[in-house]
Amino acid sequence: MTVNLAFAELSRDLVYAAMAVYTIAMFTFAVSFAATKGRDLVPATAGASGAGAAEGGVAVATRTEVALGGPDDGALPPGRRSANIAMAITWLGTILLAGGLLFRGLSVMRAPWGNMYEFSITSALAIAATFLLISLKRDVRWLGLFVLPTVLLILGLAVTVLYVEAAQLVPALRNYWLVIHVSAATVCAGAFSLGAALSALFLVADSAEKRAAEGRSYWLSGLAKRLPESTKLDGMAYRIHAFMFPLWTFTIIAGAIWAENAWGRYWGWDPKETWAFITWVGYAAYLHARATAGWKGRKAAYIAFVAYGCFVFNYFGVNILMSGLHSYGGLR
């Protein structure tokens, strides 16, 4: 089968266009972030939200009015308008990137998941899409400033270091399990990246809140006060990890089924398999730590980092440094 060069070229142009658009979105998010007033790191009246319970009356939790916005322009708080513009630009960039991926696939008439360049742009798309999907349900505009640099970094690596020309696949990869196994893995890559970012932000917000409560200064408090409360960040990080852990398990199982079909054993401790296992154990440890006295909070967040580090190593390190059955990154 041949390669449709026009499509391959169009794909490349679309990916570059997406990067340009994402860069604009990133700066717009930065402007918005800087303009945001932020919150008090120490709650004004301690336990204000729990006041109802304390009075023995009725529990009341008021929705922040800001989130509702308002029809009249004057009501928009600082930074809100630029954040909205940035979100729209991010949608545009994501559509362009999705187009780039689509034409990459069309140029060789297969799922575009055959080498590290293709995995990387798919992961970048997965991160951006996860962010946008969450934004449909919740106000996560503040997260844009952290998502877009991640996406741009991955795309930058993809088009420079990892780029390979569109081509057909080696026989071992020509299987419908490729589509199942690798699409699940790339979605995990996107979501685990978001989870790690949220865990990092949780640590920043947590440190800032603790120091503020003690009246001490903290060099990142300017960042922290523009973020949601640390407990909320922790909760979001947990939800992403809890949602992704079954999918990661599925990724490994799908890989095992494929391996059984291609090599005659479902598990052979190939470096890729070993590191997938290590990553799985790492995230399992994270979930257990959250249910273990003395390990909740910061320690659990550190475990999430270590697990994410293993995931990233499995992706870059194993493909590039180690030889095994999964060394088809396309790099020579």
Binding site: G47, A53, R63, P171, A172, R265, W269, A285, A289, G294
Partner: protein, 539 residues
């Protein structure tokens, strides 16, 4: 409501009144008992082993212990590399003694996962029994003061108290809550499948271990190289390498045989992926059992042949040049297609030919090159994996091959200690080389060979079922929320009823707010002067 407050309320309720939906977080592993004798110590050791903290540490150890398995070559996957490593590095012996080349079969790795599984069993089995009882228990009665709970609404209903309770119970039952109605309150609980899923997941891991054990005990895996035109019968003696499980009976090998009719490989030509493999096919004539009619089948990568529960996989290929050796009278003393071992992606292959019937004995070593090229740096090498321009480069040796002293010898290595070198020559197909003593070596052509792995794993179905159960359990345990809801009624002013609705969940960062709201609005409306209708949205 902030999470800290929610936590505080939960913890208070969890310990004081037992309302919490989570198992008690008892962690008494940290303190050792004093003066309670052997039984006490044993109990302490068991409790320590089955505590969550120990499980966490064992999980960490398991992850760390796996790392060397990806850093050092492993006997299970690449025995040749291990031998090479040991030859290159004298310190390798010590690594070998530590089991670094067989990490996943080493005693210390086994110790970690067995401890982990014992810890798991010790934790999960009692919890399963506990959960079995809990599943059939009634929801705990409504606490006196519902306003203390994290999610609470007070509303007014026009119906009398008894009717409100009836409709509350009906509302909850239709949403599949487990409901208990008391005189002035309703208690309901939902989400038992969270703990069910959690237990199913952990029990499935035990089942998975069983599946792996079954496979490694009762299964086998063998490798065999078959040249085009040659046959393979599935018996022990025909395999080049064979790794049986401890409980495997060689007599149970399925009695099939096949002949490799044709092997074909396609490669990418031109572009940056030049030489990348594109298609491998092996056409074989299969006889499923002695006496059965032969059938033509094709084996491809990802398309193994399945015969009586055994699978035949196409795992590699290469070239076997056909070499003829004649003595000085023109008598053929050797003629065979010799399997050459591929050394790189372009199939530069090393060959060894032993001719014990020549006198004196003759040995040939050298290369088969599917697309031949020679340069100063690399010497003879191949520039493309397909046989576009095949050639052999052979050195001839004369003397004693060393085959008669009884020591086993590799067919891929020529022992040249008692031999003298005669010379070197390059040949294209059909060309001959006359040695100084009058013998001739002819490169007639080549056939391709395919290497096959034959495997049976009786545990793989168990492992698959266990994996699917584990994943389903995991999804339930992480996505379902266990929660409780209570309704308490009291007669209000002017024939109305004051209704308190409250909910509680211990599942992390979950909320029952929506369900409490829905129930509250189904039962009545908020009191006129209060601001209780500002519904809590914690996110």
């Amino acid at each position: 409501m902030s999470d800290q407050v929610e936590d505080a309320v939960r913890d208070a309720d969890g310990s004081a009144t037992g309302l919490s939906t989570a198992p008690l977080d008892v962690d008494d592993a940290g303190t050792a008992p004093v003066g309670i004798g052997v039984v006490g110590w044993l109990r302490w050791a068991w409790r320590s082993l089955t505590s969550m903290r120990t499980a966490l540490v064992l999980l960490f150890l398991l992850a760390v212990a796996s790392v060397p398995g990806s850093v050092f070559p492993q006997r299970g996957t690449d025995p040749v590399k291990v031998t090479q490593y040991l030859a290159d590095d004298p310190k390798g012996v010590w690594l070998d003694r530590l089991g670094m080349f067989d990490v996943f079969a080493s005693p210390w790795f086994a110790a970690i996962y067995l401890l982990l599984f014992i810890s798991l069993a010790g934790c999960v089995i009692p919890r399963s029994l506990q959960h079995w009882k809990a599943m059939r228990a009634r929801p705990p009665a409504a606490p006196r003061n519902l306003a203390r709970l994290p999610e609470h609404r007070r509303i007014e209903a026009s119906a009398p108290p008894a009717d409100v309770l009836t409709s509350a119970a009906a509302h909850l039952r239709s949403r599949r809550w487990r409901v208990d109605v008391a005189d002035d309150s309703v208690a309901a609980e939902k989400g038992y499948s969270r703990e069910t899923g959690n237990l199913v997941f952990h029990l499935a891991l035990l089942l998975l271990l069983l599946g792996v054990a079954l496979g490694s005990l009762g299964g086998f895996r063998g490798n065999v190289v078959v040249r085009e035109g040659s046959s393979f019968a599935n018996t022990l003696s025909q395999f080049d390498s064979f790794a049986p499980g401890r409980g495997f009976d060689p007599a149970s090998l399925s009695p099939f045989s096949f002949t490799l009719d044709d092997f074909s490989a396609q490669f990418e030509r031109g572009g940056s992926q030049n030489g990348a493999p594109r298609e491998f096919t092996a056409d074989v004539t299969l006889t499923r059992e002695p006496g059965a009619a032969p059938e033509k089948v094709r084996i491809e990568v990802n398309e193994p042949l399945v015969v009586n529960g055994e699978k035949v996989f196409l795992v590699g290929h290469g070239f076997a040049p056909t070499i003829t050796v004649k003595d000085k009278d023109g008598q053929i003393v050797f003629r065979d297609s010799v399997v050459c071992l591929p050394q790189d992606g372009n199939f530069t292959s090393t060959c060894v030919v032993k001719v014990p019937d020549a006198s004196p004995q003759l040995g040939l070593t050298g290369f088969f090159l599917p697309t031949a090229a020679v340069d100063d740096v690399r010497g003879p090498h191949s520039t493309f994996p397909a046989a576009d321009d095949p050639a052999v480069f052979l050195s001839a040796w004369e003397g004693d091959l060393g085959l008669d002293d009884g020591r086993p010898q590799s067919v891929f290595k020529l022992e040249t200690a008692k031999m003298t070198r005669l010379g070197i020559d390059a040949m294209r197909p059909g060309e001959s080389w006359t040695l100084p003593d009058g013998q001739t070596v002819t490169f007639d052509g080549y056939v391709e060979f395919a290497s096959f792995a034959v495997a049976r794993d009786p545990g793989k179905e168990v492992a698959l079922v266990a994996s699917i159960a584990a994943m389903a359990g995991l999804a339930l345990s992480l996505l379902v929320r266990r929660r409780r809801v209570w309704v308490r009624v009291a007669p209000g002013a002017a024939g109305t009823t004051v209704v308190d609705v409250a909910g509680l969940t211990r599942s992390e960062h979950a909320s029952v707010a929506d369900e409490v709201d829905e129930l509250a609005s189904a039962l009545g409306s908020p009191p006129a002067q209060s601001s209780t209708h500002e519904q809590g949205a914690s996110e």
